[in-house]
Subunit: 478 residues, 2 copies
C-alpha cells in the first residue's frame, strides 16, 4: 500500500467512525501535510481517492467536506402486474441488449454475465485443454443423450447441497439452464397453454414462452419473500394454468430467497391444483448465507418439480453445462432433449465434471459469493450517492443483481437508448415484464468489478436518471 | 507390405482379371510355394487373407476354390409409404439404438457416427486445447446469439462450394444439424401442422416431428433420384402441408444425390404451393464426385429454403457445430434460437473456425470421401457374400450409409434384438418410417473400418438374416 492510500484509508475510517460528520469540513491539505509529515501532493492524492469513493466533496476555494450520507432507500413494494394471461412482447428490446455483447467498449451493466476475470477459473480452462489432448476420441464423439455419467454424478452431489436427493440416472444434462428450461417447457406445455411467472421475471424465460406460443400470467411478487401465494392461488382458480416458473433462490431480478415455509406452501398449492413447478436454481449457489438455501425440489414428493440449473452464473457461461432433474417427466424430457437439442458437447462436460470433483468448483463459488456480496454493497452505496432521491432498491440475499425502482415518470427505455450512445448498456425493467411494465425500473449487474471505469459508468447512469426526472418535473410544471 | 500380403494381392488381381474363374480350383499350397520360392506358411497366410476377403473358399481335403461371384443385387424400388399424415411412432426403438452408444463391446453398425480414428482430426483437438489455453476469456464467456463471426465467415465459404451465396450475417450457428433442423421447424411450424418427408427418412428428424407434435406425411422416394415429385405434388393438393424436409445430397438412409434438374423442379413446386423447404445437407460434403453437388438453396430466389448442416458427419459429432441459412425466416430463427437453445459453446466454434480456415477441413474431408467410398465398396462385396440372395441394396453416391431391403417376411426388428445379444447393433428400417414400415430393411454404417471384427459382425448379421428367412420358409411351409 502506498503512502497516500494508507492515509486515505485512515481518513475513510475516521469518517466511518463519525469522527468527521456528514457535511463537516476536513482539515486543510497543509494542516494534514504537517500533521503526518508527508508532502502536499500525497495529501492531495489521498483526498482525490476519497473524492472518487464519494466519501468527500471538494468545494472550490473552501476545501474538502464529508459527503452527506443518504439514508438506505426503501425496498420496492409488492408488484402489481396485469392479472390475466398475456402474450410476451419486448423482443426487440431484448435483442438490443444482446447486440452489444462482446463489444469491449461497452460497459455491460445490463448483462447477466458473471465475473470471468478470476484465477479460480484457471483449473477449468486447463482441464479443457487437457481433455482435448488426452481424450480426443471422447471429445470428438457423440455424447450420451442424457449427458456424461461422471458429470451427472457430480451434479447429483451439488443438488444434495440444496437438499434434493436425486440419483445421477434421474438427471438430464442440457445446454445451460436456458436449454434446461426450454426442454422442460416443451415437455410439459403446448402452444396456447398458460404458465404463471413471478413479476418481474427473467426476460430470457419470457422470450422462451413467446417462442413456444405459451401465454404468461404475471403474479405479484414481493422483493423480499417472493411470489404472492395468495395471488397465485387466485389466478389458479381463475385460469387453466399449466405450471409456474419460479426462481426461488437469489431471484433474478429481485434477489430474494423465498423462506422455506413459503417454498413448502407453494408446493402444496401446486399439488392441490395439480400444476407443475419449473424451478430455476441458476443463482442458488451464490446465496450470501451458508449453507446454501434449499430448493423447492428438496420438498417434492410426487415428482412435480422440474429442477433446472447450470454453472453459468456460478462458474462460466461458455461451458454451456446445465441440467434438469425432471421428476415424473423424465421420459418426456429425454425424448424432448433428443427432439429439440440432441446431444451435448463432451469436452466441456468432461472438464466441468473434473472441476467439481477436484474441489475447484466449491472453492471458486465460495470466493465468488464473497466478491459479489461485497460488490453489491459497494454498488448500493454508489447508487445512494449517484442517484437522485425517491428511489427504491432491493436488498439481494445472493447472486449479483440489483433492482432499482425509480419514480413512475422515469422511462428507463429511453434513458437506456441515451446511455447506449455513451457506451453504457443497461437493462430497463420493461424487459422483465411480459406486458412491458416496470419501464421505471432497471437491473444492475454487480458482477462488474466496481473499478473506476464502472463507477464512472454508474455515475453517468445516475446523471441520466436525474436528467430524466428533471425533464418530467419541467413537463409537469412542478 | 509383407510377403504374404504381396502374394495375396497378386492372386486377388488374377481372380479379378478372370485368370482364375469363379468356382475354379486354385493351385495347391505346395505348388505355389515352389513357384514363388516362399515358405508353405507364407502361402497359407496369403490364402487365409483371401479367404477373409471372401474371394476364395476352402473345401476340406480339396484345396481352395474361387468363391462364386454373386451378381450385384438390384437397387430397391420406389418406396410406397402410407399416403396420409401420421403421428411418428418408433421412439422406443430409437432409444434402444441410442442406449448402446459408447459401449466399446458393441459393434455399432446401426449408428450414424463417422470414423473418428483419423490423423486428420489431430489439428482440431489441438486447436481446442490451444484456444482454452490462449483465449480463456472468450472460452468462458457467453457466445454471440447467432454464433461467432469467424465461424460464420468460414461456413459461408463452405456454402459457396454447394453453390449457395450466403453472407456470414445470414447464418445462425446451432448445436449440430439436429439443432438447426429443430430451430428451423419450431420457427416455421406449429403443433398440428403437417410436414412432408422422404420415405425412408432419418429417424432423428422424425422424432423431432413427434416431439413438436407435427404430423409427417411420407412421400414415395426412389433410391437413386430421390423423392417422387409427382407424389409430393399430389400430397400438396390433398393436404395443408407446411413444408418438406429433404436430404437431397447423399441421402440418409438411401445415399442418392438428387439430380440438379429435380432439385429445381422441387423448388418450383414449393413456390407454386408456397411451402417451405427444410434442406438437410449434413452428408453433402461427403459426395463421391468432385466438385460436391449443389444445394437446393443454391437455386433459391425467394428465401424459402432453410439450409441446415453441420460438421458432424464430415468431421466430428462432439463439436456440436451446425448452422442454418434461414433465408426469409432469419428473424424468426434468431428468436427461436434464443428461445429454444440460447447460446453456443465458444471453444468448439473457435476451434472449428480455425480448422476450416487453415485448410485442415478440406484436407480431411477429401480423405474421408475416399475412405468411405472404399469402405462402401468393400461392405457391398461383403454383403453379397454374407447375405442370402433376394436382397436389394442401394448404390450410395456419397456419405457412408448402405440400405438393404430383404424379403418382405424378414423382421429386422426381431433380428436386431437377437443380434444385440451378440453385441452387434443394427438400425432396423422401421426406425426410418413414421408408421413403422421397412421392417424388412436395415441401414449399415460403412464408416466402421472393414477390419476383421467388423467383417465378422457383418457376417453374423448375414447369418441372422439367413436364419430369419429360413424360419419364415418353414412357417410358410415352402
Amino acid at each position: 500500500m502506498t503512502r497516500y492510500q494508507h492515509l486515505a484509508n485512515l481518513l475513510a475510517e475516521r469518517i466511518e467512525q463519525g469522527l468527521y460528520r456528514s457535511g463537516e469540513r476536513l482539515p486543510s491539505v497543509r494542516t494534514l501535510s504537517q500533521e503526518h509529515g508527508v508532502s502536499i501532493s500525497t495529501i492531495q492524492q489521498a483526498y482525490r481517492l476519497l473524492e472518487n469513493l464519494q466519501l468527500i466533496t471538494p468545494l472550490p476555494r473552501s476545501g474538502y467536506f464529508v459527503s452527506p450520507r443518504k439514508a438506505q432507500p426503501p425496498v420496492p413494494a409488492m408488484t402489481r402486474p396485469v392479472q390475466r394471461p398475456v402474450e410476451v412482447s419486448q423482443w426487440d428490446e431484448v435483442m438490443t441488449l444482446l447486440d452489444t455483447r462482446g463489444d469491449k467498449n461497452v460497459v455491460p451493466f445490463g448483462s447477466g454475465s458473471p465475473d470471468l476475470d478470476q484465477p479460480g477459473l484457471k483449473p477449468l480452462w486447463r482441464e479443457i485443454s487437457r481433455v482435448a489432448q488426452h481424450q480426443p476420441e471422447a471429445v470428438m464423439s457423440y455424447d450420451m443423450l442424457t449427458g456424461r455419467q461422471e458429470l451427472r454424478e457430480q451434479i447429483a452431489r451439488l443438488m444434495l447441497d440444496g437438499g434434493a436427493v436425486v440419483s445421477p440416472d434421474e438427471i438430464v444434462v442440457t445446454s445451460g439452464c436456458h436449454g434446461a428450461l426450454a426442454i422442460a417447457l416443451l415437455s410439459v406445455c403446448k402452444a396456447g397453454d398458460i404458465v404463471a411467472v413471478e413479476s418481474p421475471s427473467y426476460h430470457g424465460t419470457m422470450q422462451m414462452l413467446r417462442g413456444f406460443d405459451i401465454k404468461a400470467i404475471e403474479i405479484p411478487t414481493d422483493s423480499q419473500t417472493g411470489i404472492s401465494i395468495e395471488a397465485l392461488e387466485m389466478a389458479l382458480e381463475q385460469w387453466p394454468i399449466k405450471g409456474v416458473i419460479l426462481v426461488p433462490n437469489c431471484n433474478n431480478p429481485l434477489g430474494f430467497i423465498m423462506p422455506d415455509s413459503r417454498k413448502r406452501q407453494i408446493l402444496s398449492l401446486a399439488q392441490r391444483h395439480d400444476i407443475v413447478i419449473f424451478e430455476d436454481d441458476i443463482y442458488g449457489e451464490l446465496a450470501a448465507a451458508y449453507p446454501r438455501p434449499s430448493t423447492i425440489k428438496s420438498y417434492d414428493v410426487d415428482g412435480r418439480v422440474l429442477l433446472c440449473s447450470s454453472i453459468t452464473k456460478s462458474v462460466a457461461p461458455g461451458m454451456r453445462v446445465g441440467w434438469i432433474a425432471p421428476g415424473r417427466y423424465y421420459d418426456r424430457v429425454v425424448h424432448m432433449k433428443y427432439a429439440a437439442s440432441s446431444f451435448g458437447v463432451p469436452a466441456t462436460q468432461m472438464a466441468v465434471a473434473s472441476f467439481i470433483r477436484d474441489g475447484h468448483y466449491h472453492r471458486h463459488v465460495r470466493r465468488m459469493r464473497q466478491i459479489y456480496q461485497q460488490n453489491m454493497e459497494t454498488y448500493t452505496c454508489l447508487v445512494r450517492q449517484y442517484f437522485p432521491c425517491g428511489i427504491c432498491m432491493t436488498r439481494p440475499q445472493g447472486g449479483f443483481l440489483l433492482w432499482l425502482e425509480l419514480p413512475e415518470d422515469v422511462d428507463m427505455v429511453s434513458v437506456s437508448k441515451q446511455l447506449r450512445l455513451q457506451n453504457i448498456q443497461i437493462a430497463p425493467g420493461s424487459l422483465f415484464s411480459a406486458s412491458g411494465k416496470y419501464r421505471n425500473c432497471l437491473r444492475i449487474n454487480c458482477a462488474l468489478p466496481p473499478n473506476e471505469r464502472n463507477r464512472n459508468a454508474l455515475k453517468q447512469i445516475g446523471e441520466a436518471v436525474q436528467g430524466a426526472m428533471e425533464h418530467f418535473a419541467i413537463v409537469r410544471g412542478t
